[in-house]
């Protein structure tokens, strides 16, 4: 049995950042070709089987209709193909040097977890909050119960000698405009939820945001919280390359990817989920995924070579503002109930956790955020979040035009980097005209 956590630890020991794509195709041959191509793309690569969105919401009849009509899906329908087909896709591919993780986005993951376990896979991604709130309207109470069951299904694999691994998606939450303190807190709380449900190998996530300095503080805060909250557990931090409105230019997309690899290395994360230069336009091809893995691995190796000393192991600074905010949130939430699942439910009911701009019915929706003058993602309204004493200066409420500017902040900065004639500002009127186009991310 392969162990995802052991693979990541081995890469860390030899100084390599694990790079991993987001990749899923409905055609079995294409899916197999994609896994094979990414396997040898760089020194340390983890494979990905991303599941399609019909399977994510449990609409298997729609999967069958699409497959029968030769309509391509946006991922691999793991619960609809026969195990025979999926074994053929994976045959000879997963191993100690190339673990394959299943990424899906479901608030009802039990069938997906059963299917991956049947195939001998032991690593997946999710979380009761992070796979529920951003994706539709499954009540949080149902998602908590579903994820409790899914964690128990996974943890049961330990009895068979495997070390199942679960990654929290809590570091993403709508992809952009969620201040890092809340991202770090949700990821850490999901880690505690996984641990309580019996898992002993987990990863906590953080998505690259608008300020490199704040991003480093967030990754260090996450590592510190994991060390404090997850005893007797194999854990690591995974960074996601920017998940918001992506640069349209090849140079901008590449630079953003390279900065995320540097963030991972300098702040002590052990794995990076990459994005491709095609991201702003369409679903990337296998070749584009391979190219992105290579760019990220090279940037990580350069950063590791030039890093003075070993900053990854440097202890977090005492005055890390992201840690202070995240720790206040985690403490307040865990104080609500001895059971982490019930604590999460109570926290959302009371607005102790409240994701800005998230429209899920179980999210209080009283918080707002913005990007401050220094490029940091900060609060304009903390609602009922228990961080009154640690949150910094609050900014003004966003207008619609301000929201548009904030959503495209990273895209605009990276698209204009190399041009000496960069002239920000005047394009805004034209940009707002194309609002829907840009808001599709």
């Amino acid at each position: 049995m392969t162990s995802f956590g052991r693979f990541v630890a081995a890469a860390r020991a030899r100084g390599a950042l694990v790079v991993q794509p987001r990749m899923g195709f409905s055609g079995p041959a294409r899916m197999r070709a994609g896994l094979l191509a990414t396997k040898h793309a760089a020194d340390a690569v983890a494979g990905t089987l991303t599941i399609d969105s019909y399977t994510r919401v449990g609409d298997e009849p729609a999967v069958v209709r699409a497959l029968n009509a030769d309509v391509p899906l946006n991922g691999y329908p793991i619960t609809s193909y026969s195990p025979h087909t999926s074994h053929w896709v994976l045959d000879g591919i997963p191993g100690p040097a190339f673990p394959v993780q299943v990424r899906h986005g479901s608030a009802r993951p039990q069938r997906i977890v059963a299917a991956l376990a049947r195939l001998g896979l032991t690593a997946t991604e999710g979380g009761p909050v992070s796979y529920c709130l951003p994706y539709g309207r499954t009540p949080l109470v149902d998602s908590v119960r579903n994820w409790q069951e899914a964690c128990e299904q996974l943890a049961a694999l330990r009895a068979e000698g495997a070390e199942p691994h679960l990654e929290s998606f809590g570091g993403c939450m709508l992809g952009q405009l969620c201040p890092p303190g809340l991202l770090v807190a949700i990821s850490a709380l999901e880690g505690v939820f996984f641990h309580r449900a019996g898992l002993r190998s987990v990863s906590l996530s953080y998505t690259q945001q608008t300020s490199p300095e704040q991003d480093r503080q967030a990754v260090r805060a996450l590592r510190r919280l994991a060390a404090e909250l997850l005893p007797d557990t194999d854990w690591h931090v995974v960074v996601y390359t920017y998940m918001g409105v992506y640069p349209r230019s090849p140079h901008g997309a590449r630079a953003l990817l390279e900065r995320s690899a540097e963030l991972a290395v300098r702040a002590g994360a052990d794995r990076l989920i990459v994005k491709t230069s095609a991201e702003a336009h369409r679903i990337p091809t296998v070749a584009e995924n391979v190219a992105a893995l290579r760019v990220a691995a090279r940037a990580a190796a350069r950063a590791a070579a030039t890093a003075p000393g070993s900053p990854a192991d440097a202890l977090d600074t005492a005055d890390n503002p992201v840690y202070a905010e995240a720790r206040a949130l985690v403490d307040a939430v865990l104080d609500l109930d001895a059971d982490p699942g019930s604590a999460l439910l109570k926290a959302f009911e009371r607005g102790y956790l409240d994701v800005p701009f998230c429209l899920h019915p179980d999210n209080a929706g009283r918080t707002r955020s913005h990007i401050d003058g220094a490029g940091r993602l900060t609060w304009s309204d903390i609602g009922a979040l228990p961080i009154g004493r640690v949150a910094g200066q609050r900014g003004a409420r966003l207008t619609a035009a301000g929201l548009h500017d904030a959503l495209t902040y990273v895209q605009r900065r990276y698209d204009r980097t190399p041009g000496p004639r960069s002239a920000p500002g005047p394009q805004r009127a034209a940009a707002v005209e194309r609002t829907h186009d840009l808001l599709e991310a």
Binding site: P134, E433, A441
Partner: protein, 165 residues
């Protein structure tokens, strides 16, 4: 003597109560947040139903909130069919037969091609206006402003009729 707030005549150009919603097959959120902020910037009150919401839930929410305007926004390219079904269901309810309802975004997968056909069918099915993303926000803002200005003020005294509308 000051009148209790609830008996005061509503300013005819005053805030509208608006329901903003996505459609059942569309998981996009930021377009809905953007529409909410735009309407709030114009001074109106918004209830945002969010993405992936079923047709029945949208209809029931309109019965419950009795808004002055329904704004449907969809950007995944499948919105045309869902929106057409939705507005027929809306107009089939007597309480909602007169509710101003508009739809906008990217409604078809073929971009500009097919837009006029979509617009005609959605208007025939019961929408009061259809906005395609290439038009920008001007026509939508003009529609909202006109609606806010045209509203008939309720009777100046006595129980507010608007509430029972």
């Amino acid at each position: 003597m000051t009148q209790p707030a609830e008996l005061a005549p509503r300013d005819p150009s005053g805030p509208l109560d608006v329901v903003v919603t996505g459609l059942s097959s569309d998981a996009h959120t930021w377009n809905l947040v953007f529409m909410q902020l735009l309407l709030e910037d114009l001074g109106h009150h918004v209830v945002n139903l969010g993405p992936c919401i079923s047709q029945d839930e949208i209809v029931e929410s309109c019965c419950k909130y009795q808004p002055d305007l329904l704004v449907v926004s969809s950007v995944n390219g499948h919105g045309f069919h869902d929106a057409e079904h939705l507005v027929r269901a809306l107009r089939a309810r007597w309480e909602l037969a007169g509710l101003p309802a508009v739809v906008g975004g990217k409604l078809g997968v073929r971009g500009a091609e097919g837009q006029d056909g979509h617009r005609r069918r959605l208007l025939a099915a019961g929408f009061d206006a259809v906005f395609h993303d290439e038009q920008g926000l001007g026509p939508f803002e003009a529609f909202v402003t006109a609606l806010a200005t045209d509203r008939t003020p309720p009777a100046p005294a006595g129980p507010r009729e608007g509430a029972a509308r």
